[in-house]
């Protein structure tokens, strides 16, 4: 559905998107994840033909984004960041206008508008001015706008931005529901969202793709290189030295001392179990141990790992498949 090769966007003195390549297959829900300013919106804007690429190529729904932009735009439903809408129009009026603008016939546009309003739960506000709607409703109008002409592909830029937890849940439900019929590419910096809705995650940072995999696989990969923390009574310096000697330890760090308890964090090499060895070490050295935890990695860890420390971890080099 989307086929991107070496797409690059350079602004004066700054490369926003740096030669990225990825594919999105028909029927997939793909999360585009990255910190603010990573180049997510720029990429989506290039895919929707709002901006032109400096270099590289992309095909959306079989059409080249540069040569055949009208045909691309006809097949893509796009919801921009912050959902800009004409605030002086009524919901129904706006959606009809958008449906017509996207090439639907008058009669078609009416039924399509009703359908989109049904899907997004807008029936009871259809006669309201958009300016008077709450943020959650505006977001849903934006979503209804994106899907009103039944596009093959939905591109949603931070669809849950600025919503309260209940609304986020509703929108997430909606997206999952839409995923049954459309291919969806959503960008977000909220990890939870991706974990809940997406079949695949593309993590992007500084304009480069850091990883592309299922959320579960990303987490698994990270858990393999696990994290252990312990609280121990004693001289932290000595403890650190001892632990550093152990097999399978990558880094050790003294995080904090609370009263006399030293909090120590250990990162281990992939696929090693060191808790038992740690316990034995503590017994041998007569350390008083209060806590010994093997952390379960979350997508959040993967994200932090890939986008912050990503340049140093071997995991960070995930190429797209």
């Amino acid at each position: 559905m989307i086929h991107v090769t070496n797409l690059t966007k350079r602004y004066a003195g700054r490369t926003a998107v740096d030669s990225i390549s990825f594919d999105v297959g028909r029927g997939e829900i793909v999360g585009f994840l990255g910190p603010n300013g990573a180049g997510k919106s720029t990429t989506l804007r290039m895919l929707t033909c709002y901006l032109s690429a400096t270099e590289g190529k992309a095909k959306v729904a079989g059409h080249d984004i540069f040569r055949d932009s009208i045909n691309v735009r006809r097949r893509v439903g796009y919801m921009p960041e912050n959902v800009p809408l004409y605030s002086d129009m009524r919901v129904q009026e706006y959606l009809r206008f958008r449906a017509r603008l996207k090439g639907m016939k008058y009669r078609e546009s009416r039924s399509a508008t009703n359908e989109a309003m049904d899907i997004c739960g807008l029936a009871d506000v259809q006669r309201k001015m958009i300016a008077t709607l709450s943020k959650g409703y505006k977001q849903r109008v934006g979503l209804a706008d994106a899907l009103v002409n039944k596009p093959e592909l939905l591109i949603l830029d931070e669809p849950t931005n600025g919503l309260d937890p209940n609304q986020i849940r509703q929108v997430r439900e909606l997206i999952r529901h839409l995923g049954e019929r459309h291919t969806i590419l959503i960008s977000t910096h909220i990890l939870h969202e991706v974990e809940m809705t997406c079949g695949r995650v593309i993590i992007i940072d500084h304009g480069k793709i850091r990883a592309s995999d299922t959320p579960q696989a990303l987490v698994r990969r990270l858990r393999a290189a696990g994290k252990v923390s312990l609280q121990v009574k004693g001289n932290p310096q000595l403890v650190l030295e001892e632990i550093e000697q152990m097999a399978g330890v990558k880094t050790v760090r003294h995080v904090d001392t609370r009263q006399e308890w030293a909090l120590i964090e250990i990162r281990t090499v992939a696929n090693t179990e060191i808790c038992e060895a740690l316990y034995e070490l503590a017994v041998k050295k007569n350390w008083v141990l209060r806590e010994l935890v093997q952390h379960r990695a979350s997508l959040e860890d993967a994200f932090v790992d890939l986008t912050l420390a990503g340049k140093t971890t071997p995991n960070g080099k995930g190429e797209n498949e």
Partner: protein, 251 residues
Amino acid sequence: MRAFWIIFCKELRSFFLSPLAYVLMALFTGIAGFLFARTVESMQQKIMPRSLIFNLVGSGFFWMGFLILFPLITMRLFAEERKMGTLEGLFTAPVRTSEVVLGKFFATVVLYCVLILPMFLFFPIFKLVTGQSEAFHNGAFWGAFIGLMLVGTFNISIGVFASSVTQNQLIAAMLTFVGVMMHYMLGFLLYINALPESQWTAGLNYFSTIEHISTLSEGLIDTRPFVYYLSFSAVLLALTHHVLEYRKWKA
């Protein structure tokens, strides 16, 4: 072409569903009505060589009120969309930039026609009420109408262009006002002999709105103003098109 009509209708709707159109119509009709009454009065006092229409549309006061219309009707066209971010939604829909520019432009031209229509009703009503058939002849009437349409089209395209370069409506309005005012003044200064005569000022005659209007409102339909105003409008609209496309390439 399809998108052109949809945008054209949408713009017209939003003009006439907001109070702006009615406020402007009242304002402009009021100013024009006041000046019309003054012109009639002064024509009663002494014999004037030119027609009622010429005396009205040729006066500097009329142009003050007239030129103020353009910034007000064009300032929001693109500046507002840029500010609100709706430009993104507009250009990610399957529409051509030219369709958007022309749709908005022609919608504004139609609004402009509606705004000046009441003023042109003054003249037939005046004839009907007073029976003064010699106050003006039909040529003057249609000539003045065509003249104001041409100047209006040109000024609107200045406004469309100004609105596309900024996201601040106030700046768009100022640019438009300065643009239309400077263009008008260029000819006006010449007309009142405020500029020294030279080979340079002779060329300025071609830009002189007041010169064009004087000729047209005497009933003399010259084709030069047609070419001048329409071609410059086309150039300004093409520039607007480029400004809007430029966002794609901005580095």
